[in-house]
């Protein structure tokens, strides 16, 4: 067994295999970044909508809240299949990468909007009243007062979620996107030892995730200590 692995290791890291794995790693990263980036923007929109005051906007608030509640209660794999078959029904030529990214985005919207909301709600009400007594519009209050004060609350958990989204993208291999996990399956099918291949893939995921975990933890500590001063 060990002998077999020892024989395979040099082959696994030969030029083409290494490039294949690195590319797959890039795909995983790109999917996550685009999905989460868009998710964050749209999550912001969701929060903005659900905090719009007034009777007239009740339906919009309901839609925004329902979206968040629903998409945090469906497994990512199920979201992925739904997006896959829905998009294939309306646009059969959509690439699998696009489909997977949309899936990640739909999920990320729901989770990031909750982080953003918690951040916004952490800003004391008096700050908002002071702004509104000075004739700040809702948008100007958000941009000039709420957002700058809430990002220390938003950023650390955002990193934690980023890591969990990276890990969730492993499921995207199920619909055939050639990302890290799929690359592992391909190598395994080519006859490489499963222990070796999946062990390597696991390490590659770790290399993507761990720095983000550390950075999030570091920022959390920093923000917390700057608040005590």
């Amino acid at each position: 067994m060990l002998e077999r692995m020892a024989n395979e290791i040099p082959r696994l890291f030969e030029y083409y295999s290494a490039i294949f794995l690195l590319k797959a790693m890039g795909t995983t990263l790109l999917m996550t970044l685009v999905g989460v980036g868009l998710g964050f923007l749209l999550g912001f929109v969701i929060v903005y909508l659900r905090q719009t005051p007034g009777l007239f906007w009740v339906p919009v608030r309901i839609v925004a809240i329902t979206y968040v509640e629903i998409f945090r209660r469906i497994p990512f794999l199920v979201i992925l299949y739904l997006v896959l078959f829905f998009i294939q029904a309306i646009s059969p030529n959509a690439s699998l990468f696009t489909i997977a990214t949309i899936g990640i985005c739909m999920m990320a919207i729901a989770y990031t909007s909750e982080i953003i909301r918690a951040g916004f709600e952490s800003v004391p009400r008096q700050q908002i009243e002071a702004a509104s007594a000075m004739n700040f519009s809702r948008w100007k209050t958000l941009i000039n007062v709420i957002a700058p004060q809430s990002w220390p609350v938003i950023v650390p958990p955002a990193f934690a979620y980023m890591v969990s989204f990276i890990k969730d993208t492993a499921l995207v291999s199920q619909i055939g996107v050639v990302e890290l996990t799929f690359a592992g399956k391909v190598m395994n099918n080519r006859g490489y030892s499963a222990l070796l291949v999946y062990g390597t893939i696991l390490i590659l995921y770790f290399l993507l995730s761990y720095p983000l975990t550390r950075l999030g933890g570091y920022l959390e500590k920093r923000f917390a200590s700057s608040k005590d001063n």
Partner: protein, 245 residues
């Protein structure tokens, strides 16, 4: 024409009625002090005036113009004329002193940045903070923060300044510096409504003292009248307690 005319103003938080039939006039250049026990509705009155808490009845006219508190644009117009300073200063924590004072004139009133900044420096000089332009609120003492808050309100060039217990969150030694600032504003002819528990100060600075209790005005008059010959038992009791301290 009165500068500000409040007629039969009422307000409530849910079912809890906190202002009942409050009527009050303020003339240009006058300083009116609101006194009264905790929970009597002083803050609420100021909050209603600037449109932070909706009234349930009555009218408010500023310089002869009726404020419609159901209309955002009407509230906005009124806020161009009055500025409020809160007990807890409520400075924007993410901006330095200069940012706090200039943001509304620049971003909201769209005035020229250079001009606003020059004015802000003058204002901060007047409140004795010329050397703190780049400090953040959490680097300032309470008294300094409160003076920044006053400068921020003045930068809006209001016709009427509302001050809500601006010294009650401060340590005793910091109170004087803030009171001095207000004194100077009064002698410059600023029209003000002041909520305060500093009775000596109220007596010295006010043109009229108004006493509230349970959401109503129960007594009003010149400081000397109110403090020395209160007509109601409630007022006598209140001043008896406060002045003994």
């Amino acid at each position: 024409m009165h500068h500000l005319k409040i007629t039969n103003l009422s307000s409530a938080y849910g079912k809890n009625v906190v202002l009942t039939d409050v009527s009050l006039t303020v003339d240009k250049g006058q300083v009116i002090s609101l006194v009264g026990p905790s929970g009597s509705g002083k803050s609420t009155l100021l909050r209603v005036l600037v449109g932070l808490t909706p009234p349930t009845g009555g009218t408010v006219e500023i310089q002869g113009e009726l404020i419609n508190y159901n209309s955002k644009s009407s509230i906005k117009l009124s806020r161009d004329r009055m500025a409020i300073v809160f007990q807890q200063y409520n400075l924007f924590q993410n901006m330095d002193v200069m940012g706090n004072v200039t943001i509304a004139p620049i971003k909201i009133k769209k005035r020229d940045r250079k001009e606003v900044e020059a004015e802000a420096e003058d204002l901060l000089e007047r409140v004795g903070l010329a050397d703190k332009l780049t400090a953040y609120p959490d680097q300032l003492s309470g008294g300094q923060q409160q003076r920044v808050a006053i400068a921020r309100a003045l930068a809006l060039q209001p016709d009427l300044l509302l001050l809500d217990e601006v010294t009650s969150a401060l340590d005793p030694e910091l109170v004087t510096e803030v009171l001095d600032t207000i004194r100077r504003l009064a002698s410059d002819g600023m029209t003000m409504i002041i909520v305060s528990h500093e009775m000596g100060f109220v007596r010295e600075i006010s043109d009229q003292v108004v006493m509230m209790d349970e959401g109503r005005i129960i007594e009003r008059g010149l400081p000397a009248e109110i403090f020395d010959k209160p007509t109601t038992d409630r007022a006598r009791e209140f001043f008896g307690k406060i002045l003994r301290h």
